[in-house]
Symmetry: C2
Subunit: 160 residues, 2 copies
C-alpha cells in the first residue's frame, strides 16, 4: 500500500521543512506531551479536581500543574471555581468545546494501541450506549465513502 | 455536554491510577514524542531516506536517529537496504502494516489543529481521490450510527 497522495504546496515540496505550516506540528506544540494527553483522558473520564487528576495519572503535582496551565492556555480546559464548606475556593477543570473536539485523537490512540501495542489488546471496549455496538473511527468523505489510505489526498494550501 | 460514559473496571475506579492498563498511555510510551510523530508524518508524505527525513522535519540527526530506532523497535517502520552507485549500503524507512494503521491518529491531529489552533485553519485540505469530497474522521458504531461523545461507553475490561 503506498502512502497518501499529495497535492498543492505539498506535492512539489522537495525536502523543505514544514515547520509551523503543519497542523499536526502545531497541535503537538500545544498538547504534545504524554502527560497533557493523560490529563485530558482523565477529564474525559470524569475527573475535574486537581487532587484527583494527580492521583489518577500518577504524575507529580508540579508536572500536573504545568500541563493543566498549558491546556487552559491552549483553550481545551477551563477553570471553574468551587468551594467546600470551611475551605478556600479551589478550581475544577472542565472541557471547553475545543477540548471536547479532541476526543477523536484519544479514540485513535486507544484503537491503535489496542491493535498494535503488545499486551494492550482488550483492555478497553468502546461501544455505543444506544445500541451496544462496538465503536471505531472511520476515515470517510462527505459523500459517505470509507477512504483507504491510498485514496487520501493531502493538499497543502499555503506556499511553503 | 457530559464526558464519556464509563463501564466495567473504569466505572468503579475512584482515583486509582491506570498506568499501563491504558492503551492511550501505552501508545504514547511508544510514539509519544512530537519528533516521532513528525517523522511518521513525513513517511506518510513519501520520505524514506534518513537525509530527507532530517531535512523535512528540521530536527538534529541525533534525535532523528533515536526516534527512528524507536519507531522500528515499536514495529511501525521497517528498514530496507538500498545502495546507490559507488556508495555503501544505506537503509530506507518504510511503513509496516502497524505503521499504516497509525494514519487515523495523524488525521485526528490535523483535524483538531485546523479547527482549534490559531492560524492553522486551511493549511491542509484532505479529500477523497475518487470523488474529490472532503474527508474527515467519524466516530461510528458497527451498526452505522455516528456516535456523539455522550453516547460513547468506555469499558475497562481488566481489574485495576
Amino acid at each position: 500500500m503506498p502512502p497518501v497522495q499529495l497535492a498543492g504546496a505539498l506535492a512539489d515540496r522537495r525536502d523543505v521543512p514544514l515547520g509551523d505550516h503543519c497542523p499536526i506540528d502545531r497541535t503537538l506544540q500545544v498538547v504534545g506531551h504524554r502527560t497533557s494527553l493523560l490529563l485530558l483522558r482523565e477529564v474525559f473520564y470524569g475527573a475535574r479536581r486537581f487532587d484527583a487528576l494527580v492521583k489518577r495519572t500518577g504524575m507529580t503535582e508540579a508536572v500536573a500543574s504545568q500541563r493543566l496551565r498549558g491546556l487552559v492556555e491552549a483553550g481545551l480546559l477551563t477553570r471553574e471555581p468551587y468551594r467546600e464548606e470551611g475551605q478556600r475556593t479551589r478550581h475544577e477543570y472542565v472541557l471547553t468545546a475545543s477540548g471536547h473536539a479532541f476526543l477523536p485523537v484519544l479514540v485513535a490512540l486507544i484503537e491503535w494501541g489496542q491493535a498494535h501495542v503488545p499486551g494492550a489488546r482488550g483492555e478497553l471496549a468502546i461501544s455505543h450506549a444506544d445500541c451496544g455496538e462496538r465503536v471505531r473511527l472511520e476515515v470517510r468523505c462527505t459523500a459517505g465513502h470509507v477512504v483507504p489510505e491510498d485514496e487520501l489526498v493531502v493538499e497543502g494550501r499555503r506556499k511553503l
